[in-house]
């Protein structure tokens, strides 16, 4: 046996040793390993649910595994390790091609998954590999005739090369057909960049295998160059991400490029001979120039955008402040006039100036109600504005929620009955006493009364059930009606400032859209929650307020 003549250094961490005789192995493998894992992870984490992102992650992971396995084969001193990693690299290598084909198919399919039948066809090519990877059909044996620590490749690997070429051709046909089918310019460019990057990477990879096997007398030291397909692939994908927002990733290119530079420089540490530095330095220099240019341009654009946004934000804040001031001024003025008008109408209704003529009574009563509504609307807008600016203070003291709710239902009862609505109030006695520490006035007027008034206003016929109970350490106040209901679109803007249902003003012309916004702020200021439930338009709704007990 020749083994006694071969002196191999023990590998540290499986992949660091002087057994690696080809100069660029660490440079090509470590760069490929880190860059592929990085881009795979960044794309995956940006949107783990997107299929294309998952497949790119799988491709990158298989590539990183391949680079690591190959590095171990270069570095290890143990023949059994060479045999294991060399044999195991076969299913992993074919998985890179299958992932590449899958990725191109997804882009050709406009982001949709391929059929199960197509997946099964791709997987069928793996069957001989899974079954025979451990046999001599894969690796005939270990070459002890020299000290290069090579395994002898068997017919299964020739089969793999044929399948690799088949997958590349398949991907090219799919991409080309989709490219001619697509009419959208961005879609076409995305497909072109991702497909070209993938196909070029895979072609470079297979060419490396075939050239070494059939033209370079199985000299694997040339095999290292095929890994430069990965940075090429990353460059295509990164360009597609930056230019066309592919994979919906922000700033990924800048991060990936910095990492690529760092790993390129890091790889220099593993260079064995000083003369090899010249080649590596040359490659790194080209890398630095291209990537640095892209990076600098993208950072410059980011800074310009941020400066523009900051200037706009400042302008917006100043405009808002001016508008707020104007709103408060107008609000207070209008409220003052409306309050004075209410006072005058109230005096007339109460007979302070003698008995009114019969025909004037309904007119004056309506005017009183309208001026009070007007004052309330202005009050709501001012309160909302104050809440937004944090100018609202709460006077908290212990009070009974049940008593407040009961009184408001009783007051609202007459209006409800005038409309022909049945209104009821129930409180679960098991939850008593309903003592709560909060601002009684604001909870009563702006939350409970607001919700009950809303129900009265938006229920043309039927009933309103107001309830109070204590459950799971929470006071739960609910107003359930058989009114116009809320559709899903309206639910989203229900509790927003000035936001009311799409058709709510057809039912209640006085709706300002501030009532629920104010209620929400008050409830939340007391550590509670408010929500609306409805099965849809015309199906009634339930507003639920929960306070911590």
């Amino acid at each position: 046996m020749m083994s006694a003549l071969c002196t191999w250094d023990p590998a540290y961490l499986l992949f660091v040793s002087d057994n690696v005789y080809a100069p660029l192995v660490y440079y090509s493998h470590i760069s490929a390993f880190i860059v592929s894992l990085l881009i795979g992870l960044l794309v995956f984490l940006s949107n783990p649910r997107a299929l294309a992102n998952r497949v790119l992650f799988a491709l990158a992971t298989f590539f990183a595994m391949w680079a690591f396995f190959d590095l171990v084969i270069w570095a290890t001193e143990k023949p059994s390790y060479v045999m294991f990693f060399w044999a195991s690299i076969v299913p992993i290598e074919l998985s890179i091609y299958a992932s590449g084909l899958y990725l191109v198919s997804i882009f050709a399919n406009r982001g949709k998954d391929i059929s199960l039948a197509q997946k099964l066809i791709i997987a069928a090519f793996f069957v001989p590999i899974f079954l025979l990877a451990h046999t001599s059909y894969n690796l005939l044996g270990f070459d002890y005739s020299n000290c290069d620590r090579n395994a002898i490749e068997g017919p299964l690997i020739q089969y793999m090369y044929i399948v690799e070429l088949l997958f590349i051709g398949w991907a090219a046909i799919i991409a080309s057909r989709a490219y001619h089918r697509f009419t959208d310019r961005i879609e076409r460019r995305q497909l072109l960049l991702v497909s070209l990057g993938t196909i070029l990477m895979l072609l470079l990879f297979t060419s490396g295998n075939l050239i070494v096997t059939y033209f370079l007398d199985v000299d694997w030291s040339y095999d290292q160059y095929k890994l430069f397909g990965m940075p090429l692939f990353v460059a295509f994908v990164a360009y597609s991400i930056v230019k066309l927002k592919t994979f919906n990733v922000k700033l990924i290119a800048a991060q990936a490029l910095v990492a690529a530079l760092a790993t390129s420089v890091l790889s220099l540490l593993f260079v064995r001979k000083i003369e090899d530095i010249r080649i590596i330095a040359g490659i790194t220099f080209v890398f630095v120039c291209i990537l640095g240019f892209i990076l600098a341009r993208s950072v410059k654009r980011e800074i310009e955008q941020r400066e523009r946004i900051e200037a706009l934000a400042l302008e917006l804040r100043e405009t808002n402040e001016r508008q707020e001031g104007l709103l408060h001024f107008i609000g207070h003025e209008v409220k003052g006039y409306l309050t004075k008008a209410s006072g005058a109408f109230s005096s007339l209704v109460e007979g302070d100036f003698g008995k009114l003529p019969e025909e004037l009574v309904p007119f004056v009563e309506r005017s009183l109600a309208q001026s009070r509504d007007g004052a309330l609307s202005v009050e709501n807008i001012l309160t909302a504005s104050n809440q937004k600016n944090g100018r609202v203070s709460y006077t908290k003291a212990a009070f009974n929620l049940k008593e407040v709710a009961e009184a408001i239902v009783s007051k609202a009862g007459s209006t409800a009955r005038e409309k022909g609505l049945a209104i009821s109030f129930s409180a679960d006695e098991a939850g008593a006493p309903y003592t709560f520490n909060g601002d009684k006035g604001k909870i009563g007027d702006n939350v409970f009364r607001n919700l009950i008034d809303n129900s009265v206003n938006y229920t043309p016929s039927g009933s309103i059930d107001v309830s109070l109970k204590k459950e799971n350490n929470k006071f739960i106040f609910a107003v359930k009606d058989t009114g116009i209901g809320i559709n899903d679109e309206d639910k989203k803007r229900l509790f927003t400032e000035g936001g009311h249902g799409k058709d709510s003003q057809k039912v209640n012309v006085h709706s300002t859209g501030y009532g629920l916004y104010i209620a929400k702020n008050i409830v939340e200021a007391h550590g509670g929650t408010i929500r609306a439930e409805s099965d849809g338009a015309s199906k009634g709704s339930t507003f639920i307020v929960e306070f911590p007990a």
């Binding site: 899974f130 990877a133 001599s136």
Partner: protein, 70 residues
Amino acid sequence: MVGVDKKNANMGTKIFFAVFFMAMFMSIGLTYYHTIVRQDYAVFTDTDAVPNPADFFAYLVNTVTPYFQK
């Protein structure tokens, strides 16, 4: 129903990938057993006896080409 079909399709894909990766891990596991645990592989010590992978391709071409020439 569309929803049900989609659910079944997702289930089919999940099963597919589960079987695929299981097969891959089993294949690698079996390779580990044969190469590292049992060290069950041939060792070539004579340079002349070491087969060249390119020979297989030549063999394949020689076998297949006459078949197409018939």
